[in-house]
């Protein structure tokens, strides 16, 4: 089956006066299968938005190629635009003084829908994203979550097969973010493909079939979010529960243990150096009747922090 998205040697630079150009994407090669939810992770300035913009034909690449369902984003722009939907995050991007319905009808016209189809789809989408009751209210009166749902409805108007979501749940409360994610899963069940650029590790872990971590425009890793722990090489961990903190104090003194962290209540995670270290830590815990001990995988967030590094506020 043809890939939903394929990039090869994709590069994008931004020129600056009297200074070296900024490299936003550097030799990026990646593939997203059809009907996949693919997470794009990375810190601010990593190149996530640039990639989304290139794939949605908003930006031109400086070098390399990008294809959506086999269509080149530069040479076959028109075909790509009919196949993809762009969903931006945040408060901006809509006509705030117009109603949700009026907004969707206009964007329907921009997607070459005839008036009747645009009206029918606008009404159906407003119902689907839970905004039917506010369809004739001005967007400026909407909460961030409602705007976000309207962004998604706009992205779906022309029934695209591939959707690019750029930080769609940024700033949403947990309830609104959860509802948004459920909607994404519903849409995936209809056969759509998603590229989800996000900072939210929980969201990526919960939604995505695969994730790609990029930084400074380069791909660092790609894979199943539940198994990305293997990218940390010899960094393994052991999870267990035990009520006595004295045990963990003793555990921390073992040469195979690099770190012990409290997870929740009586739960603990021990970071070990390599497989042999894990084996010795498990044996040490079993000798002390800690029968809940088991080998754990580093979470996506741990992988992110270890791979990208702690750069504080720097971008």
């Amino acid at each position: 089956m043809e890939a939903a998205v394929h990039t090869s040697g994709l590069r994008r630079t931004y020129s600056r006066r009297h200074r070296d150009p900024v490299v936003a994407l550097d030799d990026l090669t990646m593939t997203i299968g059809q009907n996949e939810i693919h997470g794009l992770l990375g810190p601010n300035g990593a190149g996530k938005t640039t990639l989304v913009q290139i794939l949605s034909t908003v930006l031109l690449p400086s070098a390399g190629t990008a294809r959506v369902l086999g269509h080149d984003v530069v040479a076959d722009t028109r075909a790509v635009r009919s196949l993809v939907g762009l969903v931006l995050g945040g408060d901006r991007g809509l006509y705030d003084r117009l109603t949700a319905r009026r907004n969707l009808r206009f964007w329907g016209a921009l997607h070459k829908l005839d008036t009747r189809t645009a009206r029918r789809r606008a009404d159906a989408l407003l119902e689907r994203v839970g905004l039917a009751g506010r369809a004739d209210d001005r967007v400026e009166t909407f909460s961030r979550g409602m705007r976000q749902r309207l962004h998604l409805a706009r992205g779906l108007l022309h029934e695209p097969r591939v959707l690019f979501l750029d930080e769609p749940t940024s700033g949403l409360d947990p309830v609104a973010a959860g509802a948004f994610r459920r909607l994404v899963l519903e849409l995936r069940a209809e056969g759509r493909t998603f590229l989800l650029a996000t900072h939210d590790m929980d969201e990526a872990a919960a939604l995505c079939d695969r994730v790609t971590l990029i930084d400074r425009g380069r791909m660092l890793l790609t894979g199943d979010p539940a198994r990305v722990g293997r990218f940390l090489g010899d960094r393994e961990c052991v999870d267990f529960t035990h009520p006595d903190p004295a045990l963990t104090e003793a555990l921390a003194l073992l040469p195979d243990v690099s770190d012990v962290e409290r997870r929740d209540g009586t739960g603990w995670r021990v970071h070990t150096a390599g497989r042999d270290g894990t084996r010795r830590v498990l044996a040490w815990l079993l000798e002390r009747d800690v029968l809940t001990a088991r080998r754990g995988e580093p979470t996506l967030e741990e992988v992110y922090l270890r791979t990208v590094g702690d750069r504080g506020m720097r971008v």
């Binding site: 031109l60 901006r92 991007g93 206009f106 921009l110 070459k112």
Partner: protein
């Protein structure tokens, strides 16, 4: 979907936006004052022969100001509001959207003609009789069309310009003069005549005055000139808008964020 259909939807969008935020209708507050000033000058100078000029000029100025003011704002406002990226990602080119939105604003500006006539009639007791109403209506209609074409070109020029505000503010009087709005082109220095002939307003002003007096000889040429210049400006505006969008995609200046 044809380009005209996209333009029509842009007209409807602008109509909805204007109902919510009718700031560009301010021109309709200014036009009566301009008419008052000009008519007062003609009355005190005992020049009944130029009453038509005094009544028609605010109408043409209203059209021009409405188009110029709004044309320069559409794309920058969409960029600031984060609408430009999703707009570019649609299969429809940006030019017809701009043209449609400007067209709606130009229609509002055209109401300045009626206002000006009413001010003359009610305020000064000078009822401007139109000798050839059909030709006058045709002249107003094609002047509006040409204004839309020219405003589309101006929109693109202003967007690519690094000094948009300065350019926008300085494009009033040169066109009032070259367009023969304030005074007929014939009274301008001879070396300005060729320049004024490529400004559609000069043909429009002549045709409007001629239709009022009933002596618009050679009016088909004027109509052809107005439509031709308007069409050329529209074509250039659509081309320049497409170039601007491609440049923004190439240089990465699509959004401000």
């Amino acid at each position: 979907m044809s380009t005209l259909r996209v333009m029509w939807h842009a007209v409807l969008l602008q109509l909805a936006l204007s109902r919510r935020d009718p700031e560009h209708t301010l021109i309709l507050l200014i036009a009566p004052m301009q008419t008052t000033t000009m008519l007062a000058l003609t009355v005190t100078a005992h020049r009944p022969d130029v009453v038509a000029n005094a009544v028609l000029a605010p109408g043409l100025i209203g059209l021009w100001v409405a188009a110029l003011d709004y044309a320069g704002r559409i794309v920058p406002e969409d960029r600031w509001a984060g609408r430009f990226s999703p707009m570019i990602a649609t299969p429809v080119p940006l030019g017809p959207v701009v043209a449609g939105r400007v067209a709606m604003v130009v229609l509002v500006g055209a109401a300045a003609f009626a206002e000006s006539w009413l001010v003359a009639a009610l305020g000064f007791g000078r009822v401007l009789a139109v000798a050839d109403p059909a030709l006058f209506a045709l002249a107003v209609a094609i002047t509006c069309l040409a204004t839309v074409g020219t405003a589309t070109l101006l929109s693109a020029v202003l967007v690519v310009s690094r000094a948009r505000d300065v350019l926008q503010n300085s494009l009033g009087y040169p066109f009032y003069i070259l367009g023969g709005i304030l005074v007929p082109v014939t009274v301008l220095p001879g070396w300005l005549h060729p320049l004024s002939r490529v400004v559609f307003l000069s043909w429009s002003a002549e045709l409007l005055r001629g239709s009022v007096r009933g002596d618009a000889r050679g009016w088909p040429w004027s109509v052809a000139a107005i439509l031709g210049l308007g069409a050329a400006a529209m074509a250039a505006g659509l081309w320049l808008t497409r170039r601007y969008v491609n440049r923004a995609r190439r240089e990465g200046t699509v959004g401000f964020a």
